[in-house]
Symmetry: C2
Subunit: 334 residues, 2 copies
DNA sequence: TTGAAAGCGATACCAG
DNA sequence: CTGGTATCGCTTTCAA
C-alpha cells in the first residue's frame, strides 16, 4: 500500500535515494540506507507493478525461444501459449523472437541459440532443447536468464523448468494399464529420439511401476520411430508379423497415425501420449483407448509469464510441473 | 503499440478528445469522432494496461464473493485461488470481500448476497450459489457484474461461468468404469444436495453414458449424503446389508470418508469426485480407485482475474470450463 | 465542444 | 553521495 514517494516524504529524503536503497544501485550513506530499509519493512512496502511496467517500456526486453516444432504438431499449442502470454503483456514492452527447428540435432540447436543471443540480441531465453554439454557450456557463458521448457536441461543457473515430469507420466500409464487389466499383456513400445531426455524417463517410469506393482505383463520390444509416421508403420507391421503374442501397444511420441495403421486388423489395446489432432481422431474412432496429455498451452504461457515476472519483480520463478491429463473418448475435445 | 498521446498528435487534437471518443464519454463533434476512430483502427490502438491500472488506483474496486465452504474442504483451494489472484493484482486497487457459508440454504445465500451488496458496497460479485429464482431476481435488480463460480446459475446478465461441466464429468466416470470393466457391476451412488445443480447433472451424465455405450451394469440406488460423513456411513452400511449384490460405489460429493468406512470389509470398486485430503489418503490406501478433480484453484483464480480484466479492459469475459483431471494412486499428490 | 494539466508509481539521468 | 525532474500511458478535472 505504501509507495516510494510516501516513504521518501516520511523519511525526508528524495525518491531517488529510496529507489537506490531498495534496488542496491548507486551509493547511499549507511545510516540513510538502514533507515529506508527499516521503514520499508515496517510499512510493508510492496512495489507497484503498474508503475514498474510503465517505466519498463523505455527499455523493451526481447525474449528468445527455441522450439523443435517443425514437423511435430505437439508444439503448436505450446507456441500458441507463448504468443498468448506475450500478447497479453505486450504493454510491458516484451517481445518474443521464436525460432522453430526440426528435430533434436545438437549442431542445429546450438547454432539457433547462438543466433538468438548474438544476432537477435535477446535478453532472455526459453528453450525446449537437448540436454547437451556443448549447449549447456555455451549457455553458462552467456549471462542470460534461461527457462527450460517442456524438456529439462542440466543448466545449473537456469531460472526454472516448465514442463511435465516424464517419469511420473510413464508411471501413470502403468497405473491405467493396471486399471484396465494388465494380466497377459505383451507390450510393444514405440519411443522418440533419445536426444530428448523425457523419452527415456517415460519408459523408465512405465517399467519400474509395472515391476513395483508386480503386474503380470511383459514388454515385447522398444523401438524408435524418430517421430515419423512411415517408420512407425513399418516397425509395427514387422514386429506384429514376427511376434503374434503382442496384444498391446504403447506409443510414447509422434508417429501415432503410422503406428496405428501398422497395427492394421490386429486387435490391440493401444495407448499414447499427448493429443495432437491425429490422436484425437484415433481416440474418437476407438482405435486408441487413452492418451495422457501435458498441458502444452500452459507450458508456453507460463514460461513466458515467468520470464516476464522475473524482469518485473526480480523474483526467482518456481519450476512448474504440468498436470498429466488423462483423456478417454469421453473427455477428448474436438 | 500506438498510444493515445501519439494518436492525438497525429490528428492534431488533444489527448482528452481522443480519450472521450474511445470511451464514449462527453461530447465530441461527429467529424473528429470519426477521424479518431478510423485512425485508432488503422494503427490498431490497444490501450496500455499499466497505464490504466495506474490511474485506476484512484477508484479502488471491491469484489464480493460467496462460497459455501464451511464444512466442505473442497472449497479451500478455490478460495486460495481467489486470494492469489487478488494478491497478484492488489496493485490495481482491487480488494476481495469473502463470505463463507455452510451448505446451500437459499435464505442464507440470499441474505449473504444482500449483505455483500448493501452493507459491504461491493462493485462486483463472484458467486458459488444456488440456481434459485429469488436469488436470480435479486441479482437482476442490482446492476452489478456477476460471475458464477463452480456452480452455474441461470442469470441472463451474468458475465460468464467459471467451473466444470458436471454432465461431462459424469460421462467421464462412466468411461473409466468401461475401461475398468463394467460388466456385472451393481452401483451404489452417493450424491450431494439437490440444491446444487451440478449434483444431478453429474449423475445424468453418468447414467446416459452407460446407456449410450450399452454397458452391462446397473444402478442399485442413489442416496443423498447431505455432504456429511455420518449420514454417508449409515446409508452405505444399511444398503450393503440389504443388498449383497452391490459391488461398486460412486461417491459424487463430500462424505467420502464416511462412505468408505460404511463399506467396511466389503470389497467394492470405489470411485469419487474431487481430491480433498481425505480422498487423497483413501486413494493412497488403495480404498478408492480413482477420483476426478476439477481444478478448484484455477476456478477461484480465473474468476477473480476475469472480473479484474472486466474492470480494466471492459472486455466481456468468456466462460471457462475447467478440465476433468483423473487421478489414480500414481498421480495423486501428497 | 475542446484543450491543458495534474496525478498515479517507479525509474533514469543530470546537476550539484 | 543526494536531490530534482522528466518520462512511461491513461484518466480526470478544470478552463476556455
Amino acid at each position: 500500500m505504501v509507495t516510494i514517494k510516501e516513504l521518501a516524504q516520511i523519511l525526508g529524503v528524495s525518491r531517488g535515494t529510496v529507489d537506490r536503497v531498495l534496488h542496491n544501485r548507486g551509493k547511499v550513506s549507511p545510516e540513510i540506507k538502514e533507515q529506508v530499509l527499516a521503514k520499508a519493512k515496517e510499512l510493508n512496502y510492496q512495489p507497484n507493478k503498474a508503475g514498474i511496467m510503465l517505466s519498463l517500456r523505455k527499455q523493451p526486453k526481447k525474449i528468445g525461444a527455441l522450439v523443435p516444432s517443425i514437423g511435430n504438431p505437439f508444439f503448436e499449442s505450446l507456441i500458441t501459449g507463448m504468443m498468448k502470454a506475450t500478447d497479453e503483456y505486450s504493454d510491458l514492452g516484451f517481445s518474443l523472437s521464436l525460432k522453430e527447428v526440426k528435430g533434436f540435432d545438437r549442431i542445429e540447436h546450438l547454432a539457433t541459440i547462438k543466433n538468438l543471443v548474438e544476432m537477435e540480441h535477446c535478453d532472455a531465453l526459453l528453450l525446449a532443447t537437448i540436454d547437451d554439454e556443448t549447449i549447456i557450456d555455451y549457455l553458462q557463458s552467456t549471462r542470460l536468464p534461461v527457462i527450460a521448457v517442456n524438456s529439462d536441461i542440466a543448466l545449473s543457473r537456469k531460472l526454472c523448468y516448465v514442463g511435465p515430469d516424464y517419469y511420473a507420466k510413464g508411471a501413470l500409464h502403468a497405473g491405467l494399464l493396471d486399471l484396465t487389466g494388465a494380466e497377459g499383456r505383451r507390450i510393444l513400445i514405440l519411443k522418440g529420439s533419445e536426444a530428448m531426455r523425457g523419452h527415456s524417463d517415460i519408459i523408465r517410469g512405465f517399467k519400474e511401476t509395472i515391476d513395483r506393482k508386480k503386474l503380470k505383463c511383459t514388454i515385447a520390444g522398444i523401438y524408435d520411430t524418430y517421430d515419423d509416421n512411415e517408420t512407425a508403420e513399418r516397425i509395427v507391421r514387422d514386429k506384429l508379423a514376427q511376434d503374434s503374442t503382442i496384444n498391446t501397444m504403447f506409443i510414447t511420441t509422434a508417429g501415432v497415425r503410422g503406428a496405428v495403421e501398422g497395427a492394421g486388423e490386429h486387435k490391440l489395446l493401444i495407448f499414447s501420449s499427448d493429443d495432437i489432432q491425429e490422436t484425437k481422431d484415433l481416440i474418437k474412432e476407438g482405435k486408441i483407448r487413452w492418451t495422457i496429455c501435458q498441458e502444452p498451452f500452459r507450458q508456453g504461457f507460463e514460461a513466458v509469464r515467468r520470464m516476464q515476472s522475473w524482469f518485473i519483480d526480480g523474483t526467482e520463478p518456481e519450476s512448474l510441473f504440468t498436470q498429466h491429463v488423462i483423456k478417454l473418448v469421453e473427455n477428448i475435445e474436438t
